[in-house]
Structures are given as structure tokens and as C-alpha cells.
């Protein structure tokens, strides 16, 4: 025992002890408020549990019910994947496009950069309320704009077929945010002489973009794709504030279904099982992206 303690503390006993003491507030916080809930949620996912009463162990019944009996599990998963598939490329390429525009050598560019960044600092709840009005089929800004050009506006959030596209459209509000800034930094990090080389060879803007820009920023693009997918899988606030899942459950996203199960129905066991399944799905999607990236991402420093 004594030797084990010696081994852990090493030769600088006192310093190590002091170091551990300094780490202690964080470590205790992590163990109590981080690790313990994570471990318990795994256990509760195997139980019927509503916080107020004792948990009842039911094995894999929650997972079985989710996968085979709950139509809203699949519905919400489909809604979420729809959102991920449309939102991720649009937001990545939207930000890249904006970054390319703002990467020009023009007077007053910092002002434009600021203007495009400002919308992204608005909080999700405020944004949802603003867009609720913009999407209003009769008086909303969007349909009024469409009507100006003689186009009939859709019902947006009032329609089961337009509600998801509406939320994807709304998410593009933040194309000018942090993601765009990172892309801008990446674009500015590309050495000018590479572009000059293309010019000497007689290549146009597309060749420059395809053979210089894209390969050199591909690690950043990849990183953001992974992050955007994970982030989009957790879509919640918009649906919670704006549609509450409707109409006809067309905006019932995975996390909204999870929220309903946990904080409305108090079914913490069932909701924990959902959370663990979402983790597994997210891991699988991320793993798949890493597999794909081997052929699509260029690292200048070699592998």
C-alpha cells in the first residue's frame, strides 16, 4: 500500500500533493457533476425512473421500446437527419462563400466583416422570436418580399412540408459568424506565391480555387463539417420556441422528443436511453466522416 502511494506521488511528494490539491476543486466538481451523472444516466437508461420514485430495473426494455414501438423515435431521428443533411453543406459553403467575398483587398473591408458578423451574436431564443414573425404567412417579411415579385409564399411553420426547410433557412442566419471568421483566417493563411504560380500557368479563378484554395483549407473544412454535424444533431431551441414540434410532428427533433420525455413526462430512464442512442449515432456518423476524410483532406505537414 505504502509503495503504491509512493508510486503515485513520485519523488516530489509534497509538490505532487499540492498539485493535486489545486486540481481538487475541479476534479471534485467533475466527479460529482460530470462523471457521476454520466454513469448514472447509463444505469437509469436500463430503468423506469421518474426522479421522485425509486428506479425500477427493466434491462433493455427502454431501448427495445425506442427502436421497435415508439414511432416518434424514428420520426424525430428522420427530422433531425433531414436538418443535418441540408443545414451542414449550406452553412459550410455559405460561410466559405462569404469568407471568400470578404477576403478581397478592398477599402473598408473591416466594416463589412463586422456587419456580416453582427447577426451571429443574437441569442437563439431572440432569433427564434424574430424569425417567427419573418415566417408569418400573411404579414411576414419573407412572404411580403415574395409577394412583391408576384410569387406565392408558402405557409412556412404552419405547414408540415415547409416547416423543416424553414428552420434550415433560418439557421443560415449565422453564416457570417465564428465559422466564417475561421475560414477567413484560413484563406488569409494561404501563401500568395501559390496563386501566382497558377496565374503564370494561365489558370483562372476556378483552377485557383480547385487546386490551391480547397486543398489548403480542407483540414479546416473537415473540422467544421464534423462540428456542424454534431451541432446540428442537437437542434432544439428553434423547434422548442417556434413550433413545439408541430405541425403534425414535422419539427419534432430528436432532442425535443427527448426533452418531452424527460421534463414533461418525467421519464428519465427512457430519456437517458434516448441520449445514449444519440451518442452512439453521433459517434457512428463522426467515425464515418473520419473514414471519408482520409481521401479528401490534405494535410500540408504530411500524415
Amino acid at each position: 500500500m505504502r509503495s503504491l502511494v509512493d508510486k503515485i506521488l513520485g519523488p516530489h511528494r509534497h509538490d505532487t500533493l499540492i498539485a493535486w490539491l489545486f486540481v481538487a476543486p475541479w476534479a471534485i466538481g467533475f466527479l460529482i457533476f460530470g462523471l457521476y451523472p454520466i454513469v448514472m444516466s447509463l444505469y437509469y437508461s436500463l430503468c423506469q425512473y421518474d426522479v421522485l420514485r425509486v428506479p425500477r430495473f427493466i434491462g433493455l426494455e427502454n431501448y427495445q421500446a425506442l427502436l421497435f414501438e415508439d414511432p416518434y423515435f424514428w420520426k424525430s431521428l428522420w427530422n433531425t437527419l433531414y436538418y443535418v443533411v441540408f443545414r451542414t453543406p449550406l452553412s459550410i459553403f455559405g460561410s466559405l462563400f462569404l469568407a471568400s467575398l470578404l477576403n478581397q483587398q478592398l477599402k473598408g473591408m473591416p466594416i463589412f466583416r463586422t456587419i456580416f458578423f453582427i447577426p451571429s451574436i443574437i441569442s437563439g431564443v431572440v432569433l427564434s422570436v424574430i424569425w417567427l414573425w419573418m415566417f408569418n404567412p400573411e404579414y411576414g417579411l419573407i412572404n411580403s418580399g415574395l409577394a412583391f415579385f408576384g410569387l406565392p409564399g408558402p405557409l412556412w411553420l404552419q405547414s408540415a412540408s415547409w416547416s423543416k426547410p424553414a428552420l434550415v433557412l433560418m439557421s443560415l442566419w449565422t453564416v457570417g459568424g465564428g465559422r466564417m471568421l475561421v475560414f477567413l483566417a484560413a484563406l488569409q493563411g494561404i501563401p500568395k506565391h501559390l496563386y501566382e504560380a497558377v496565374e503564370l500557368e494561365g489558370g483562372g479563378w476556378w483552377t485557383k480555387f480547385r487546386h490551391v484554395t480547397l486543398p489548403l483549407i480542407s483540414p479546416i473544412l473537415f473540422l467544421w463539417t464534423v462540428m456542424e454535424v454534431i451541432f446540428s444533431m442537437q437542434v432544439f431551441v428553434e423547434a422548442y420556441i417556434m413550433t413545439n414540434g408541430g405541425p403534425a410532428n414535422s419539427t419534432l427533433f430528436f432532442n425535443l422528443h427527448l426533452y418531452n420525455k424527460s421534463f414533461n413526462d418525467f421519464q428519465m430512464g427512457y430519456a437517458s436511453a434516448m441520449a445514449w442512442l444519440l451518442l452512439v449515432i453521433t459517434l457512428a456518423v463522426t467515425w464515418f466522416q473520419f473514414r471519408l476524410s482520409r481521401r479528401m483532406v490534405y494535410y500540408e505537414g504530411g500524415n
Partner: protein, 456 residues
């Protein structure tokens, strides 16, 4: 030596931080006046005032002091939940979500021993409200107040449409006729005004599903007598939902949805902004009409029936008092509850409160202030035909999500038939109910209610 002092200093400093973090909880106040003090958590609506019964009770005797603690209604469920689990709950709470949601989770203390001991008459309450206070043949709360519902109609709009403002519709057929007379559609096909909207909308949660009212009128309860089988597939409910589908057959549903998208709260409420001519709403709407549109000429009438003179039905919106499990001053809290639900206190409270709920005490509702007011009299009468919106108490949230968020949307868009949505909804509600019952049986085999034997 110096180094040692520095090290000791670090340790003491860290210890102090940890102690601050873990022992920093506020100390409980100790009262030395020999009186019983307890906290009462009540919901704050728009008016942040001390409830009148608390003022009256504290002044009426000198043994017990009630400390009212306002909690925002959006947070109240989570706050009560946390307080009960932590084992340090207030002695009294008031709430408006179905009581069974809390009672079935053993978060509340049964009140039967107090009722027996004081010979308290629970018959003073409207039966629909008292029914909602029961779980497993025990009483878990007392109705504090309620929302009462009736049909509002706009007399000016009736006149404009050539209808007699003193002859509001009495049956659902008459309601359709009046509604169609009121409807107004502009040259582009856009709806400007509608007579009536029969279903709830996720942007306008104050509309009650007409289908449920119609099913209640036909005698459907949608739950078996033993509470173990969901009966959403009751043909009477199917008939009522079909009525809604047929109602919308006369409209372009896309136009109706666009029209509904223009509604909002307060001044933009569909009835207050005169976009809808008739509307089933609670008595609170009268306060809002008084505040925002004192000039609006409206009437209140009984919720229509299938046949002339047939039974009407309305929802009840009970606010209740209950004592959380392990409450420190249960006996004193009970004394306050029993006091404040008496007719004279409820009537006094009405005079001292700006935004009024309807009394839960039916003797109070017999008072001239209700019976001599033609509209209040209608609300009082509707309360005798009220039903709890906790239709399937153990699967309450799922029931309403199925109905409001799915079934009605699907049938009015003609994506599914009434029978299809009812089969789907019934399966979901039953699955939830069966799971809740299994869990209940398991819990009751190892946990017990805080019963009369355990209290001194």
C-alpha cells in the same frame, strides 16, 4: 520553514474555498416567537401580489404564520420537483398541472386523516375539481380556484353578419350556420375573419379542442372505469373529430392555416382583435377584454350542445393546494388550506384580487356577485358540467401531445383518416399508461405514502 508556511497557506486557502463551496448554503432562519412558521410556494402570473387568503389567514389567528414565496409558473414544476427530492420542501404548494402527475409519483402527502379529523366537507367543491384531487382513493389536494369556460361571441360582428346578437347559437349546427354567416374572405381568397375555429393551434394554446367537448357531451370518457385501458378509439370521439374534418371541408385549409398564423397573445388574441366571431374561452378573457378592448360589445353563452337542450360540457382548469411529502408543517399547512377554500374567504379574495380565477367552492359561486351577473352565471353553470382536462391522468402529457400535436393536424390536412389517427393515438397513450401502471405497482411494493399512521 518559510516554504512550509507557504504550503500550509495554500492548504488552508484551498480548504477555505472548498468549505465555502460546500458549506455555503444559507442558514435556515430560526423563529423565536413560539409560532409555527411555514413557506407556501405559489405561482406568479401577471400580477405579483401576495395572495389574499395569506393576508387574511395571518391576521385571523396568532399561532401560525404563512410565508408566501412567489415562484414563476414556467419554473414551478422543476422547483417543486427539486425541493421534494432534496427532502426540504415547503409545507404548501399550489399548482395547476394535473395533481395526479404529482400524487402518482408520491411527491404529495395524502390529506385523508386531516379531512376525517376536522370533519372537512369536500362536497363544497365543484365535483369535477374534487375528482381531480383523488388518486388511488386518497385525497391529495384541495381545489384552490379554477378557470371556467363558456362560449364568447362578438355582438357587433353578429349584427354585421345579419345575425341576432341576442340569439347566440345553442347547438353545434346553429354554430356552423352562424360561423358561415360571419366568415369573410377577400378578393384574393385570403381569410379576413372566421366565425369559429374548432381546434387548438400550436401558436395559440388558448383554444380548446372542440372535439373533446363534443365527445364529453356524448358521454365518452376515453378511459375505462378502472383507469387501466385508454379508450380514445371510442366511436363518439371519432364522430366528434369527424365533425372537425367536415367543418373544414368548407374552407381551403391552407388559407385557414395562414389566417391562424396571424394570431397572437393579448391584443392580438383572435377574439380581442375581432378576427374570430365566436370562441370558447375561460373567464380570464373578460379581464383582458376589459383591459384591451373595453368598447367591444360581446356576449357569453353556454357551450353549444348536439341537440337542443342536451347536456353541455366544458373543461375545468383547477389550481390546487397540496402538501409535499416530508413537509415540515403539514398540520399548519392543512389548517391554512381548509381556511382559504371556504366560501367567504374565496369571495373576499375575489374583491381583493385584480385578475380573478373562478371560485372552486360552489357555495361561493351561488353568491349574488355571480348569480346576478348574466355572464358569471353562465360560467357558474358551466362549472356544474365541467370535466377535468386530465383525461388519462397517468398519461396526461402524451394524451395531449397526441391530440394537439399530431392527430388533429393529420386529419384536417387529410393525411390520415380519423380512425387511423385514433388507432395510433390510442396505442401511444395505452403504451404510456401500461408502463405507468407497471411502475406504480412496483413502487407501491416497496414505497409507502406518507400516511395517517405516521403522523402524530
Amino acid at each position: 520553514m518559510r516554504e512550509w508556511i507557504i504550503r500550509a497557506g495554500y492548504v488552508v486557502g484551498l480548504g477555505a474555498i472548498l468549505a465555502f463551496v460546500f458549506l455555503g448554503a444559507p442558514k435556515e432562519v430560526v423563529y423565536t416567537d413560539g409560532k409555527i412558521h411555514f413557506d407556501y410556494w405559489y405561482n406568479v402570473g401577471q400580477e405579483d401580489v401576495i395572495p389574499w387568503p395569506v393576508i387574511a389567514f395571518n391576521a385571523s389567528q396568532d399561532r401560525i404564520v404563512v410565508h408566501p414565496v412567489a415562484i414563476p409558473w414556467q419554473e414551478s414544476e422543476k422547483k417543486i420537483l427539486t425541493a421534494v427530492i432534496s427532502g426540504d420542501p415547503p409545507s404548501l404548494v399550489s399548482q395547476f398541472v394535473p395533481l395526479v402527475k404529482w400524487a402518482s409519483r408520491m411527491a404529495l402527502r395524502p390529506l385523508d386523516n386531516f379531512i376525517t379529523q376536522d370533519n372537512f366537507d369536500t362536497g363544497i367543491f365543484f365535483p369535477a375539481l374534487m375528482d381531480e384531487m383523488m388518486y388511488m382513493d386518497r385525497v391529495f389536494g384541495l381545489p384552490q380556484a379554477t378557470a371556467a369556460y363558456a362560449l364568447y361571441y362578438n355582438k357587433d360582428i353578429f349584427r354585421e353578419a345579419g345575425l341576432d346578437p341576442e340569439q347566440p347559437p345553442r347547438t353545434w349546427d346553429e354554430l356552423i350556420q352562424a360561423a358561415h354567416a360571419i366568415d369573410s374572405i377577400d378578393a384574393d381568397g385570403r381569410i379576413q375573419r372566421m366565425g369559429y375555429l374548432p381546434d387548438w393551434d400550436n401558436l395559440l394554446p388558448s383554444i380548446m379542442q372542440t372535439s373533446l367537448l363534443m365527445a364529453w357531451e356524448l358521454g365518452a370518457t376515453l378511459l375505462s372505469d378502472d383507469g387501466r385501458t385508454a379508450e380514445l378509439d371510442d366511436p363518439r370521439f371519432a364522430k366528434s373529430l369527424q365533425w372537425i374534418v367536415d367543418y373544414y371541408d368548407d374552407y381551403d385549409i391552407k388559407r385557414v392555416r395562414a389566417f391562424r398564423g396571424t394570431f397572437g397573445y393579448d391584443t392580438q388574441h383572435c377574439f380581442i382583435s375581432e378576427k374570430v366571431g365566436m370562441f370558447i374561452g375561460s373567464n380570464f378573457i373578460m379581464d383582458n377584454l376589459q383591459r384591451y378592448r373595453p368598447d367591444l360589445d360581446y356576449g357569453v353563452t353556454t357551450i353549444p350542445t348536439h341537440e337542443l337542450g342536451g347536456p353541455t360540457a366544458s373543461p375545468a382548469g383547477v389550481f390546487w393546494y397540496a402538501i409535499p411529502r416530508n413537509a415540515p408543517e403539514a398540520e399548519a399547512a392543512w389548517e391554512f388550506m381548509a381556511y382559504s377554500t371556504q366560501a367567504e374567504i374565496q369571495l373576499e379574495a375575489m374583491q381583493h384580487t385584480k385578475e380573478n380565477l373562478f371560485p372552486s367552492n360552489r357555495i361561493a359561486a351561488q353568491d349574488p356577485i355571480f348569480q346576478d351577473d348574466p355572464y358569471m352565471k353562465i360560467f357558474a353553470n358551466q362549472m356544474n358540467h365541467a370535466h377535468s382536462p386530465a383525461v388519462v391522468p397517468l398519461a396526461h402529457e402524451v394524451f395531449w401531445r397526441e391530440l394537439n400535436m399530431n392527430a388533429v393536424d393529420l386529419i384536417i390536412d387529410k393525411t390520415k383518416t380519423v380512425q387511423e389517427v385514433l388507432d395510433l393515438a390510442n396505442a401511444q397513450v395505452q403504451r404510456e399508461l401500461s408502463a405507468a401502471l407497471e411502475y406504480q405497482d412496483y413502487v407501491l411494493s416497496i414505497m409507502h405514502f406518507e400516511t395517517e399512521e405516521e403522523t402524530p
